[in-house]
């Protein structure tokens, strides 16, 4: 069902004349991709192993694929904070809303700049592209956000990123690549611009929209700098990544001395340190990335479906 066209073609072909070259190609290809998988899977497995290993023991190094002394302590240390769950909710909200909004808005603008006759086309295109290469700086941006009343406000996660220029350009390229005949016949049917965009272009762009959605979702999910800058004093607007940053820094701090003397008398107690920054970093990598990684297989089906769409032929 999900067979791609290329696949169908090559299968037919292999039936006719299973060329030796093709077979060799396949073997090489699969071998290469398997090797690639091993190399790219390793860091994740390694991180997972460290996160499941006793923190004090991890200091010794030498953890590769499996933990040496299994423990869930690192996870309970990270997840024990009551704030984590509310923060996760906010992360999900900003990811869902931010993604939907930016995909829709970017696609809409992208559509307008594919219309060759649009009088503002060149102006809009260049105005957007140029912004990829400059930045007014941290403080002017901060003051702007403050003056717009977006400090300590959920919408600061959404508005500044309303349109991603990169996404815009990718969608534009995609629309430009659509078969003209479809657009043309819709136009002859008398579809207005918004209808064209909404009913014809958007559905045809699902593969690229899925791609862009993935990019935005990952961006939104991983963001913590805006929380730090704008919403740090409102715990109700904190996100998962930001809370994890806090936990990591605390685990760092419990090891650094106060500037002088032995202010921290109780640190005399060896073994009191059940966590280390090294272990916490690994744990938070897993905690933060697993949810967002799950998004991919879900979106992946749109890439494949896109293939089938293209593959439908009479």
């Amino acid at each position: 069902m999900n067979n791609s066209a290329a696949e169908a073609v090559s299968r037919k072909k292999s039936r006719i004349r299973s060329s030796r070259g093709d077979q060799i190609f396949d073997i090489c290809n699969i071998t290469f991709l398997t090797l690639l998988m091993i190399v790219t899977l390793y860091p994740f497995l390694n991180t997972a192993a460290v996160s499941l290993n006793n923190a004090t023991d991890s200091i010794k190094g030498g953890i590769y694929l499996l933990p040496r002394i299994w423990t869930l302590d690192n996870y309970s240390y990270v997840l024990k904070e009551a704030t984590i769950f509310h923060a996760t909710l906010i992360s999900i909200l900003r990811t869902v809303i931010g993604t939907i909004v930016t995909v829709f808005c970017s696609a809409m603008v992208a559509y307008t700049i594919t219309r060759q006759d649009f009088v503002l086309r060149k102006f809009v295109t260049i105005a957007f592209i140029l912004t990829m290469y400059f930045n007014g700086g941290l403080i002017p941006n901060f003051l702007l956000i403050r003056d717009l009343g977006l400090l300590n406000n959920f919408w600061v996660y959404i508005f500044p990123g309303l349109i991603g220029v990169f996404n815009l350009i990718i969608i534009r390229s995609f629309i430009e690549g659509l078969p003209e005949s479809i657009l043309e016949s819709a136009r002859i049917d008398g579809a207005g611009d918004f209808k064209m965009f909404y009913s014809i272009v958007l559905p045809l762009c699902v593969p690229v929209l899925a791609t862009v959605a993935l990019f935005s979702a990952v961006y939104q999910w991983n963001q913590w700098f805006d929380v730090f800058l704008y919403n740090s004093s409102n715990i109700d607007l904190s996100t998962l990544q930001y809370e994890l940053q806090k936990i990591l820094q605390n685990s760092n701090a419990s090891l650094t001395p106060k500037s002088a003397g032995d202010a921290f008398a109780n640190a005399n107690n060896p073994g009191g340190n059940t966590v280390t920054p090294f272990a916490i970093r690994a744990t938070m990598t897993i905690v933060a990335s697993l949810p967002i990684i799950m998004v991919y297989p879900f979106l992946q089906k749109y890439f494949v479906k896109g293939m089938t769409v293209g593959g439908v032929k009479g």
Binding site: G21, P43, V119, L120, N135, L162, S173
Partner: protein, 324 residues
């Protein structure tokens, strides 16, 4: 190319022969839906991206955040001079361009190659698994990734163990990979590819869904093998996307990243690892000197614009798709 609709509309307008502003106004009115679909976002763009540009004035001041604009002390091009006249500037710039160039070339070639190879996999399940796994390292922060790279390259790391095992080196002569300056760019390039190749293929895979399968069939009729089809059908099919991305990235030539160089850099390889961003961090941000970092940012922007327009022009002359 897609000029049909254009022709029809302009044909309607032309007979009246209005000129200049008026004609523009009429068109604008005619295209009010398109205007409504884009102009609100132009306003957004102006507020969020262009308005903060007043901050560039900071580059010409001895900026103190506590003072109001009129109280700031103006210093002209002092910060630019500090930047350009430092003896390390050329070296830092060289490193930035080299690493960014390596990233650009290597990043494009590997991601496109991987996308092509994935496209040729027949078993959907396998293809999906490879795709998912290959993009995993993207989710590992550079801090964690750098620590894995350092462990791998250490004297008792896997690379040295392998070299020992194959007999390329002798015990006691393990290679101090991160201590050899000339190796740094290579390590950086390999590390970046490893971390992001899977992620970078996504956009090409999406682009491949647009290729009309009829083309594959036609190519097959002509007796083209797998490699030839990759070369003559798939690659041209995604060429517009490749070129647009290429132009965009050429504009980023002075952005070579910051974290990997900072994390993998050390005193031994500093001559090859220190890039513009690290330099600005050390002498700008870490010293509380906002002005220097803004000056560096402006410098980068100017170079970016030159490169961007240059690359776009070249693409135009070659008759390729272009960015704008």
């Amino acid at each position: 190319m897609e000029s049909k609709p254009t022709m029809t509309t302009s044909n309607l307008v032309l007979p009246k022969k209005p000129t200049g502003l008026k004609r523009f106004g009429i068109k604008l009115l005619e295209q009010r839906v398109l205007v409504l679909m884009s102009v609100p976002f132009l306003v957004w763009l102006f507020i969020f991206k262009y308005m903060p540009l007043w901050g560039w004035t900071i580059a010409f001041q001895k900026y103190k955040p506590a003072k109001s604009f009129s109280e700031q002390k103006w210093v002209g091009f002092d910060h630019f001079n500090f930047l350009f006249q430092d003896e390390r500037f050329i070296r830092v710039l060289r490193n930035t361009i080299a690493m960014s160039g390596i990233n650009l070339v290597l990043g494009f070639v590997t991601a496109i190659t991987l996308a092509l190879l994935l496209n040729e996999v027949r078993k959907v399940a396998f293809k999906r698994i490879v795709q998912t796994v290959s993009y995993l390292p993207h989710f590992i922060s550079w801090v964690v990734a750098a620590s894995i790279i350092q462990t791998t390259l250490s004297t008792d790391g896997i690379i040295n163990e392998l070299l020992l095992w194959f007999g390329f080196i002798e015990k006691g002569n393990e290679i101090l990979f991160l201590g050899i300056p000339e190796y740094f760019w290579g390590i950086f390039g390999a590390g970046s590819v490893w971390k992001d190749v899977g992620w970078n293929t996504i956009v090409y895979l999406a682009a491949m869904t647009m290729i009309d399968p009829a083309q594959y069939e036609a190519a097959e009729m002509d007796g083209a093998g797998r490699i030839k089809r990759m070369w003559y059908v798939t690659l041209p099919g995604i060429k517009p996307v490749i070129i647009v991305l290429l132009i965009m990235n050429i504009g980023y030539l002075l952005e070579s990243g910051f974290e990997p160089q900072y994390l993998l850099g050390n005193g031994m390889n500093i001559d090859y690892s220190e890039n513009l961003d690290i330099f600005v961090l050390k002498y700008g941000i870490a010293q509380g000197n906002y002005s220097l970092s803004i000056a560096a940012g402006m410098f980068k922007t100017i170079i970016s614009f030159i490169l961007l327009f240059g690359a776009n022009n070249i693409a135009k002359r070659l008759g390729e798709s272009r960015l704008f």
